[in-house]
Amino acid sequence: MTQVAEEPASPQRPATPTGDPAHARRVSLPNRHEVLERVLGLREGSIIVVTLLAAIYFSVNTSSFLTGANFKTLLPYFAPFAIMASGVVFVMILGEIDLSIGAAYLFAPFLFFKLSKAGLPLVPSVLIALLACMAVGMINGFFVAIVGISSFVATLGMLFALEGLTLIISHGQPVATPGAAVTTTTHNVTHVVNGVHVVLPETVNHISTFAKVFGGGIYSELIWALVIVIVLQIVLTFTRWGLYTVAVGSNKLGAGEAGVRVRLVMIRNFVLCSTTAALVGILEAVRASSVQPDPAGANEILFQAIAAAVIGGTVMTGGSGTVVGALIGALFLGILHDGLVLQGVNANYLLFYLGLAILLAMTVNVYVQRARRGTHSG
């Protein structure tokens, strides 16, 4: 993993004779140029720059982009994708793809509903739904790592099969998410208007603690996203799991010859990927307090998650990727979506502009990356 390799030299490291003076200067006072160079030196550097540019553009061009209220609007546009993309990154670093995350996203909340309706308490229902999707990931991993089907095909099959299964068990009917019901209470609030006391009834919405934790709370998904991204980035950078993931993605045969258990590594990552997608499915179902058996919507989410991972700097050929990058990629997509809406772009044009903006952003990304390589290896 080059993140580790590229980390700034720590003072404890034995000084190399050639690099020492520059190194000492960098530690004492990093100037603007060096800060820029260091940001671009990160794999996520280019997408950070592109995302900032997008944010600045919308801040300048709309009055409401840079407001607290808009930040809350923005959250559901990126937090779910960030979580899903984190899992996808682990599969994509292997050089594989998981299309079935769209189905896990759709299936998990319906299974949760069924289990809860069958009388199971809420949290165990969630856990069992997640476990079921882990099994889905294991099946994906089995077909890819052991049977040897290409992951695109294997997970495409799983996508259709599991979305079909969701339609079967739901009879195509939307359901109310268990534990996410909104209760309303009415309070009489006294206002003082021109010295006159006026009592007016006000309604207040409540959701259960369960709902607040699992996606219903305003910042719930954001917190889930941040925690998951941080944990998974640590796993990727600082543990054997991450090391083997990069090893298998970079050179599958070589990793096997070196003694890495390639199949185990692959299956494990497919399980992780399905699990994050299932979690997002449940969070979103709780947030919306109902869930539609809509494969088309789920598939759109699948592509957004993969787009977030790719935009964040994870390459589709494997061997390299970052979870933090996926978070920023998701943030970029969210900003784009939200900003275009604020600009009053006609709903019919939205997807069109989104597509063009992705192409433009990725082009900028490529050039920034080239510049970055130029600064480093010359």
Binding site: I234, S250, G254, E257, A258, G259
Partner: protein, 275 residues
């Protein structure tokens, strides 16, 4: 497939010495219709450097992959220190003291030099098993210094190194292990003359220490005579010659290969004239 070339009587049968660390008997391996190994008999004595010669496609690498636990033979037995040896995996073989430098080097381009050196022997912290990168760097530095190959930066991805440097890292990874049997599949393949002689020096040093036994695939007969105690030549999936290097010469080794080539030509000629 018609059985080619070598008459059965020229195949070297199972041989052994009292101080064998590894014995390989009647090993056979097929890949679908292709017979990679027919009947291989080989032994490796303690502290010995055995050179394995053979043309491209003669089955050398397949034999190495079977011994190191990466593939399983179809028939035949192996013995490690006199006991039956049936490695279940590369890890298992390594746990039993056999480590390998593969022809394709098994390096991970995206990983740093020190992570490559430590792969599957990573050092981790306790109780939370985070990678102990600083220790692995120090270890890598030590291992590379010991070999005497100059790798200026060990925290860059191996993709950025030259062929010779990559080879050196693969060799260092194996030599640095606790193994007492080293399998080297063409350790000099991508190396310049200077780097190559460093590796041969290293092999000579290991031989002097006498701790490890080495089975090494080489292409260059001069290198074989220089570095090895004994040479086995593999032809068409069987051992056709097994001699101490002191009793053979570049001429004799060349002769065997050329003879085989002539026989094959003749067989091909006969086949076409008959048709």
């Amino acid at each position: 497939m018609a059985d080619p070339a070598i008459p059965a009587e020229t195949i070297v049968g199972p041989t052994s010495a009292p101080d064998d660390v590894l014995r390989v008997e009647h090993i056979a391996k097929r890949f679908g219709p292709v017979t990679a190994l027919r009947d291989v008999n080989l032994h490796l004595r303690k502290g010995e450097v055995l050179g394995l010669l053979g043309d491209n496609g003669s089955g050398k690498s397949t034999l190495i992959k079977i011994i190191c636990g990466f593939q399983k033979q179809d028939a035949g037995k192996m013995f490690l220190h006199g006991r039956p040896y049936e490695p279940r995996s590369v890890d298992d073989a390594r746990a039993q003291g056999i480590d390998t430098v593969y022809q394709d080097l098994a390096l991970i381009d995206e990983l740093s030099v020190y992570h490559n050196l430590a792969l599957r022997r990573e050092k981790v912290h306790h109780p939370i098993p985070f990678l102990a990168n600083r220790e692995m760097k120090a270890e890598a530095r030590r291992a590379l210094d010991e070999i005497g190959i100059n790798i200026p930066r060990i925290d860059v991805a191996v993709a950025r190194l030259s062929g010779g440097q990559r080879q050196a890292i693969a060799v260092a990874r194996t030599v640095n292990s606790d193994a007492d049997i080293l399998l080297l599949d063409e350790p000099l393949a991508a190396m310049g003359a200077k780097e190559g002689s460093m590796i041969l020096d290293l092999v000579a040093r290991l031989k002097e220490e006498g701790r490890v036994s080495i089975l090494m695939i080489l292409h260059n007969y001069v290198h074989v005579l220089e570095a090895c105690d004994r040479v086995s030549m593999i032809q068409d999936g069987a051992i056709a010659l097994d001699k101490p290097t002191a009793e053979t010469s570049v001429e004799e080794l060349t002769e065997i290969v050329v003879n085989e080539y002539r026989r094959a030509r003749m067989a091909a000629h006969e086949a076409t004239t008959q048709a």
